[in-house]
Amino acid sequence: MTGCRRRTLTADCGTLTAGREQMTVPVSWYVVLSAILFGLGVVGFLFKRNIITIFMSIELMLNAVNLALVAFSRMHGLLHGQVFVFFVIVVAAAEAAVGLAIVILIARNRESLNVERVDLLKL
């Protein structure tokens, strides 16, 4: 927030004022980016074989959503979106912790990080 001289915290502190040209990034760009990231996450989730990679894709999806939330928060001028992002981050962290613990156990038991090897429930 370098350049923010106001006392209250508002969302438009990102705009450059006083001297420089006002140039806002259109919100649609953020949304598209978020969508692309989310899509990449989905693709990685579905098609990668390495469990770690799948987890990374999950994190990617979560962060794509975070991005979208922040962008909308900026657009509306409300902080609700950004506050919710914190919730998402916390949940993502917890989930990552548990999930990686499971991955470690799987890796130990199956001697491999290939998700196709985890098939003991196959009928």
Partner: protein, 656 residues
């Protein structure tokens, strides 16, 4: 006043006996069962005697004596209780049921001695007594119907006593089913009464209501005619009249004491009792009376013709019973209810005696029932012969015996009653001729002539006194049981009819009104004596014909049978009625049940439907199961697909 206040004792005693026999009747407890069964019935008989003593002390306005013991149905204005009523008719019926019933119980201890299921037999027999007593003592139609159905049940149980034998179990089923057809009519009558009168089925209330309605003449089919006809339909089933008599001959599959008690003395008379009890209803409907009389006369004649050529000793007696029941209905149908009940009583005596004696003969011959294989038994079993001869004389109408007075009264009434006709009289007279003939045929073939059985292999022995005692008692009753009507001979009055007069008073008034309207009143003493003479002549003729054909010239029977072969075959095969029923009713119903109801509906539709449902569930489940592939990536793919679908749904919903 002890029994009058505690009327419930009379049916309760046999019920207790039944329960005890069922509980305790193990194979070696015959003594105990004897004591219980005979004792309970005997006590019921004693209670009845005491009841008569107390009843005699009642004033006319205290009759009928009503006692209600247990509220039963009390719903929306309709009320029916376990309530008993005692009037003169009840007294007569009670005497017959408990008296003859007791004698038959004693007889059964001898007859059934070596049979399996001894305790079961007496349990059923006592249960039957219970229901029969309920039937005759009930004070409303619903309770009577309880007794009605109950005796039908016991009849089924007892006919099918030897349930392992297919003919016996078939006969039991036949009896119950045919009875049911009649009961259908009975129930409809009850419904009609209930619907049109309403709050109760008590005799007193219903009869009072009927009194207020107009008399329905011949051809007018009003409410009371419908009720009367439907009630009679019930009687037709229970009392084996045309067309629902077919179960009675088959019922001979049961043990002989059963035939004596149920199918001669008591159960089959329930229909007659019911018609007599409902006399006021019938008196209000000339059409119903005519139907009763005609069916009675037709049945009497029809059954007598079949009895002419039967060869099983019990079958002859069975058809004879059907015929005599026809007489009773004829009497009721011409308005002479007391006469009908009189014949009911005398018939109970001699017919029970006939059956018991037949049982004695069968027992003596070690199980033979075909009279063509008997003969010359007179010297071997004199007591059985003597008592059976007395009964035969009674049924044939030998002067002075009980049957003479009752049968004669019926003939007389059918002649002179305003509801009677010469045609009915002629039919009844012809039946009397045939009755005398076939009964003497039976006696001659069984007891006279050369033995047609193997005298060396069959050890003919007289029955024990447990069996002979009741025979003698019934023989005495068959002789003396009609003397209360004897005063008619010297211009006196029939005491029996007098005794029952209060019960049928209202019906009698209507009959006399009808008679007055047709100018047939007056003293008929001369006519009565003349008709008596005719009846005696007819009986003698029947006897003479039988004597000629079966004693003096035994070839006559064969020759006549050959000469009139078609008629003989027709009669021998019971006019093919059973076969007709089988083709017209039984087979189609069977076909309907097996092919349509069972195959098409139950198997294909119901079972098929359920099976299809199960198959569908299984198939669907099978397909769904493949989701659980164990393949994590496919799980992941489904998760994504679900998420996409859900999101799309949400978008679509918020759009709309």
């Amino acid at each position: 006043m002890a029994v009058l206040e505690n009327l419930w004792l009379i049916p309760a005693l046999p019920l207790a006996g039944s329960v005890l026999c069922a509980a305790l009747g193990r194979k070696h407890a015959t003594r105990l069962v004897n004591i219980i069964a005979v004792g309970c019935t005997g006590l019921a008989f004693l209670a009845t005697l005491e009841l008569i003593r107390e009843f005699a002390r009642l004033r006319p306005d205290q009759i009928p004596h009503l006692r209600s013991y247990l509220p039963w149905i009390d719903a929306g204005g309709f009320r029916a209780d376990f309530a008993f009523q005692v009037d003169q008719l009840t007294v007569v019926m009670l005497l017959v049921v408990t008296g003859v019933g007791w004698l038959i119980h004693i007889y059964s201890t001898g007859y059934m001695k070596h049979e399996e299921g001894y305790g079961r037999f007496f349990a059923y027999l006592n249960l039957f007594m219970f229901f029969m007593l309920i039937l005759v003592m009930a004070s409303n139609y619903l309770l009577m119907f309880v007794g009605w159905e109950g005796v039908g049940l016991c009849s089924y149980l007892l006919i099918g006593f030897y349930y392992a034998k297919k003919p016996a179990s078939d006969a039991g089923k036949k009896a119950f089913i045919v009875n049911r057809v009649g009961d259908f009519g009975f129930l409809l009558a009850l419904f009609l009464i209930f619907w049109n009168f309403g709050s109760t089925l008590d005799y007193q209330d219903v009869f009072a209501w009927v009194q207020t309605r107009p008399v329905e003449g011949l051809g007018q089919v009003g409410l009371l005619t419908a009720v009367g006809l439907l009630l009679f339909m019930g009687a037709t089933g229970k009392s084996a009249q045309v067309p629902l008599y077919v179960w009675l001959p088959d019922a001979m599959e049961g043990p002989t004491p059963v035939s004596a008690l149920i199918h001669a003395a008591t159960m089959v008379t329930a229909g007659v009792y019911m018609v007599a009890r409902s006399s006021i209803i019938f008196a209000h409907s000339e059409t119903a009376l005519l139907v009763v009389a005609v069916v009675g006369a037709v049945t009497a004649l029809f059954a007598a013709t079949i009895g002419l050529v039967q060869t099983d000793i019990k079958r002859v007696l069975a058809y004879s019973t059907v015929s005599q029941l026809g007489y009773m209905f004829l009497a009721c149908g011409v308005g002479a209810y007391a006469v009908g009940i009189f014949h009911l009583m005398t018939h109970a005596f001699f017919k029970a005696l006939l059956f018991l004696a037949a049982g004695s003969v069968i027992h003596a011959l070690g199980g033979e029932q075909n009279i063509e294989r008997m003969g010359g038994l007179r010297k071997h079993i004199p007591w059985t012969f003597g008592t059976m001869l007395i009964a035969t004389l009674a049924i044939a109408g030998a002067p002075g015996l009980s049957g003479f007075f009752s049968k004669d009264a019926i003939l007389f009434q059918s002649f002179i009653s305003p509801y009677g006709s010469k045609v009915l009289y002629a039919m009844a007279l012809l039946t009397a001729l045939l009755t005398a003939f076939y009964m003497f045929r039976l006696i001659l073939l069984t007891f006279f002539g050369a033995p047609r059985f193997d005298e060396h292999h069959v050890h003919v022995h007289e029955s024990p006194w447990s069996m002979l005692g009741p025979l003698v008692a019934l023989a005495v009753l068959s002789v003396a049981g009609g003397w209360m009507a004897a005063p008619v001979l010297w211009h006196g009055s029939d005491h029996f009819e007098e005794y029952l007069a209060p019960v049928f008073a209202r019906a009698e008034t209507l009959r006399e009104a009808r008679a007055a309207g047709h100018g047939a009143a007056g003293d008929h003493y001369q006519l009565e004596l003349m008709l008596m003479g005719v009846a005696i002549a007819v009986s003698l003729a029947g006897f003479a014909a039988a004597w000629q054909m079966y004693s003096r010239r035994p070839e006559t029977a064969e020759r006549l049978a050959a000469q009139f072969r078609p008629a003989h075959t027709l009669l021998r095969n019971k006019w093919y009625v059973d076969e007709i029923y089988d083709t017209v009713i039984v087979k189609p119903v069977h076909w309907l049940s097996a092919q349509v109801l069972w195959q098409r509906i139950d198997v294909r539709t119901v079972d098929g439907g359920v099976n299809h449902l199960a198959d569908a569930a299984r198939t669907f489940g099978g397909r769904l199961r493949r989701l659980h592939s164990g393949n994590t990536r496919s799980y992941a793919a489904w998760v994504v697909a679900g998420a996409v679908a859900f999101t799309a749904l949400l978008v679509w919903l918020t759009r709309v």
